[in-house]
């Protein structure tokens, strides 16, 4: 079997691939569309030289970049040009030249301080060292390259560094765990860089690494991923190479049908003789193993021819072994012996133990078939020796991998434990958060409840205030109502009293009429009787006596008539209570009316009593509009009140001593109030005692001596004001200082 395609070689081919790919196409177009001899073109040329497919092309581009850079004195351009030229020399195997170019690039990298360039120089220098088998020195350079690359933050570069570190660990120290660690890092960085080409290279690296340590399934997995990526990139050479490797994995795991398919598919695109030979020889091996001997011979001889043509000694050793096994299966022991011996010689030339072992085994089998047991035994011993030395290496590899896997498992266990712990911590954290959240929610709810309560409280207080206000209003309304009711009762009392008075008066009037009429007619009759007595012829004494009696009768009848008339006057006054509603209301000027009745009262009193004298004043509000009233009735009230006042001031004047300066005054004033008209009659007379104040509006209540007042004046006035006009009649008084009657009429 051939495992010569180490990761290093693979990388070499991948970067040297002649085939075109999309990235390179793009760069070429850019270079062509940018013919100006400037730094832009230098950069494009250098980039193309770096990713370039063939060494020639790289050299051509890098040389142009170098010449333009020198003209422009563009140091960085020169640096990259040297780097790329050096890289091309590595590919050509011109290590000394390469080392020289890289030193130039390095000095420019240090001079310009361009760390990216420095990282690349380190990477390429490592490659030189790997090629000169100074692997031990290559590793530190690659590690340094990564360190610098990390500073640039260029993920593609970092990924490449890690890939090279992986290969250095593998090749220099067979430190597979480290190699795996770095190739996985490289994959991760490539993913981060979102660079499919980088990923494909890293996947390929990982696949080769796993294949080397014998983990065929992982190798297969990564090769397939790399294949998928490469199909997208469009690099057919790499694709063919990958297919060949996939075929290898199938072959080595005994999945021959799939192996054949993969090899054949790879062959389709393959143009390089070496790899055609490789694929064909591998096919031959599979066919031998599946006993398809004609096909095995066909691919075996074809590949052998190629190998000889390109002088691939190792290939010859490998193919000879295959052919030997094929001939032995055909029981052609001599041919088998021939090819095995040829193979062993070739293997000895290249020093490839693997093929020495294979060919030794083939020789042992062939000799054994020929019953030449001595030779068979000798080759068998050699086979065992080769195998053991192989195995030692393999066992070492395997044991380190096992160790690595064990460590990995342990680490994964630790990771799992940590994850578990983390999960627990997370759970704890979540629980704490939930509790906190609940506390916050509770707090919010409590706050809201408190707010609502406060709000409700506020509302309640407000409502309480409103209720209190309403209660106060209601209380006031009640008080008003009670007062009104009192007034109503009073006025109702007065009214009913008035009506009663009228009724009584009416009932009294009839009999009183008879009294008056009969007394009148009796006076006449008695007078006639007296005349008749005078004509009688009787003694003078008797006559005188009769005349005296008839005179007395006349006198008595006159007295009856006089008092009857008095009663009649009272009854007439009383009857006026029932007549108050008779007249019509009309718009009247209150001031004119008051003035008129004031004068009427004054002159009326002066006419009765010449000694009567009093000052009267008026204070009229001229803004009062005409009021709708019954003028005669209001006039009568005003007259009544003025008469009372004049009477009161006269009384006081009569009782006061001469020394006292008393000026009897009566004031009548009017005033317009809100929707009301006020008439005030004020005097400075004797006033009204408090104890009789309640009775003054009652009928027949009077303070005047018998015969002077009927006690109906105020009663009647009250009736007129309240009943007929809907107004009010009030009194304000202080005993001994005067009284003031107030008439309020609605407008």
């Amino acid at each position: 079997m051939r495992k010569i395609l180490s990761i290093f070689l693979f990388l070499f081919f991948a970067t040297r691939a002649i085939c075109q790919d999309i990235e390179i196409d793009g760069l070429k177009k850019q270079v062509n569309s940018h013919p100006q001899q400037d730094t832009g073109r230098v950069n494009l040329l250098n980039e193309l030289a770096r990713v370039g497919l063939s060494a020639d092309e790289s050299i051509k581009n890098a040389t142009e970049a170098l010449s333009i850079s020198e003209k422009l004195n563009y140091e960085l351009g020169k640096g990259y040009a040297f780097l790329n030229l050096g890289n091309a020399r590595i590919s050509e195997g011109k290590k000394l030249e390469a080392a020289d170019l890289l030193r130039k690039a390095d000095s420019l990298g240090q001079k310009t301080g361009d760390i990216k360039l420095q990282a690349y120089v380190l990477l390429r220098s490592a490659r030189v060292l790997q090629q000169t088998s100074e692997n031990n020195e290559a590793l530190p350079k690659t590690l340094k390259a990564e360190e610098i690359a990390l500073k640039t933050g260029d993920k593609k570069l970092i990924s490449e560094c890690q890939r090279v570190i992986s290969s250095a660990y593998q090749n220099s120290f067979s430190n597979f765990p480290k190699a795996i660690e770095y190739i996985l890092k490289s994959i991760r960085t490539a993913e981060e860089a979102d660079c499919l080409k980088c990923l494909a290279q890293s996947w390929s690296g990982a696949a080769a690494l796993y294949a080397t340590i014998g983990d065929q399934s992982r190798g297969l997995y990564y090769y397939q991923k790399a294949l998928e990526a490469n199909k997208k990139i469009g690099n057919k050479i790499i694709e063919a190479n990958l297919l060949n490797n996939i075929g290898e994995r199938y072959r080595l795991t005994g999945r021959y049908t799939e192996a054949i398919a993969a090899y054949k598919e790879g062959l389709k695109e393959e143009t390089q003789p070496y790899r055609i030979e490789l694929a064909q020889s591998n096919l031959a091996d599979v066919y031998v193993r599946t006993d398809s001997l004609p096909l095995a011979f066909h691919y075996g001889f074809t590949s052998l021819e190629t190998a000889k043509k390109i002088e691939d000694i190792e290939g010859i050793a490998w193919i000879d072994g295959i052919l030997s096994r094929a001939y032995l299966k055909k029981k052609m022991a001599d041919s088998a012996l021939y090819y095995a011996q040829q193979g062993l010689e070739a293997a000895k030339q290249t020093g490839t133990i693997e093929f020495m072992r294979d060919n030794a085994a083939a020789l042992a089998d062939a000799y054994s078939f020929k019953k030449d047991f001595a030779n068979a035994y000798s080759f068998y011993i050699r086979y065992i020796n080769y195998r053991d030395s192989m195995l030692n290496a393999e066992v070492t590899n395997k044991s380190t991998v096992l160790e690595y896997n064990y460590d990995l498992e342990k680490k994964q266990g630790q990771i799992a434990a940590l994850n578990q712990q983390k999960k627990l911590q997370q759970n704890f954290l979540i629980s704490v958060l939930i509790v906190l959240l609940l506390i916050i929610i509770t707090a919010i709810i409590l706050l809201r409840i408190t707010r609502q309560k406060q709000h409700a409280n506020k509302l309640l207080i407000q409502q309480k205030q409103e209720i209190e206000e309403q209660r106060d209003q209601t209380n006031k309304a009640l008080a008003d109502l009670q007062q009104t009711q009192q007034q109503l009762i009073q006025s109702e009392k007065m009214a009913s009293l008035g009506e009663l008075t009228a009724g009584i008066a009416h009932e009294i009037q009839n009999p009183l009429n008879f009294v008056n009429n009969f007394s009148e007619v009796s006076v006449e009759l008695a007078t006639e009787l007296k005349e008749s007595v005078g004509e009688l012829d009787i003694s003078p004494d008797k006559k005188a006596e009769l005349e005296k009696i008839t005179n007395d009768i006349v006198q008595n009848q006159e007295k009856i008539n006089f008092h009857g008339k008095r009663a009649d006057a009272i009854v007439k006054g009383m009857l006026q209570h029932s007549r108050t509603t008779g007249s019509q209301k009309e718009l009247t000027n209150i001031n004119t009316l008051a003035d008129e009745y004031l004068r009427l009262a004054y002159h009326g009193l002066r006419a009765k009593d010449k000694s009567f004298n009093a000052t009267f004043k008026t204070d009229f509000d001229n803004s009062i509009p005409d009021v709708n009233i019954i003028p005669q009735e209001i006039g009568r009230v005003v007259l009544n009140l003025i008469n009372n006042s004049f009477y009161s001031v006269t009384e006081k004047k009569n009782t006061s001593s001469a020394s006292e300066q008393y000026e009897p005054t009566v004031l009548i004033s009017t005033r317009k109030l809100n929707r009301k008209v006020e008439i005030r009659v004020k005097d400075n007379g004797v006033g009204i005692p408090q104890k009789v104040l309640d009775k003054i509006f009652q009928p027949f209540f009077t303070t005047k001596p018998v015969g002077e007042g009927t006690g109906l004046g105020l009663s009647l006035s009250y009736d007129i004001i309240t009943k007929a006009h809907g107004g009010e009649l009030k009194v304000e008084t202080k005993e001994g200082q005067g009284a003031e009657f107030i008439i309020l009429l609605p407008l």
């Binding site: 009416h506 009037q509 009839n510 008879f514 009429n517 009148e520 009759l525 009649d568």
Partner: protein, 124 residues
């Protein structure tokens, strides 16, 4: 002149007789008295065309003065006697009704006999 006085007050007769004693003595006036409306109707039926003047109270138990007035004015046409209404209530309602029913005059109590006497003499 025959005058019929209608009043439920019995004393009214005495009063009239004394007040008009001179006129009665001289047969200047002749008074008849009825104490109710019904009695007055009965008198009028018995003494057709005798009464020239009727003085009637209004407020009486049974037939009122106004009913009597209506009766007289509708039934005793040829010629209807002069009817004077006398009432204690001088209110406009009574007055208007009496006038509507054809009363010739309207007096209020207490009767001013001097005025009545003049009115009667003027008729005579």
């Amino acid at each position: 002149m025959k005058i019929l006085v209608v009043d439920d007050e019995m004393d009214m007769q005495t009063l009239f007789e004394q007040r008009f004693r001179r006129e009665i003595r001289s047969h200047e006036m002749d008074f008849a008295f009825a104490h109710s409306g019904e009695e007055a109707i009965g008198f009028l039926n018995r003494h057709v065309h005798e009464a020239v003047l009727i003085l009637s109270d209004i407020n009486m138990p049974g037939m009122s003065g106004l009913e009597l007035l209506r009766e007289i004015k509708t039934k005793y046409e040829n010629p209807p006697p002069i009817v004077m209404m006398i009432t204690a209530y001088g209110d406009p309602e009574n007055y208007n009704q009496a006038m509507k029913l054809g009363a010739d005059d309207f007096l209020t109590k207490p009767i001013d006999f001097t005025l009545l006497k003049e009115k009667l003499k003027a008729l005579h």
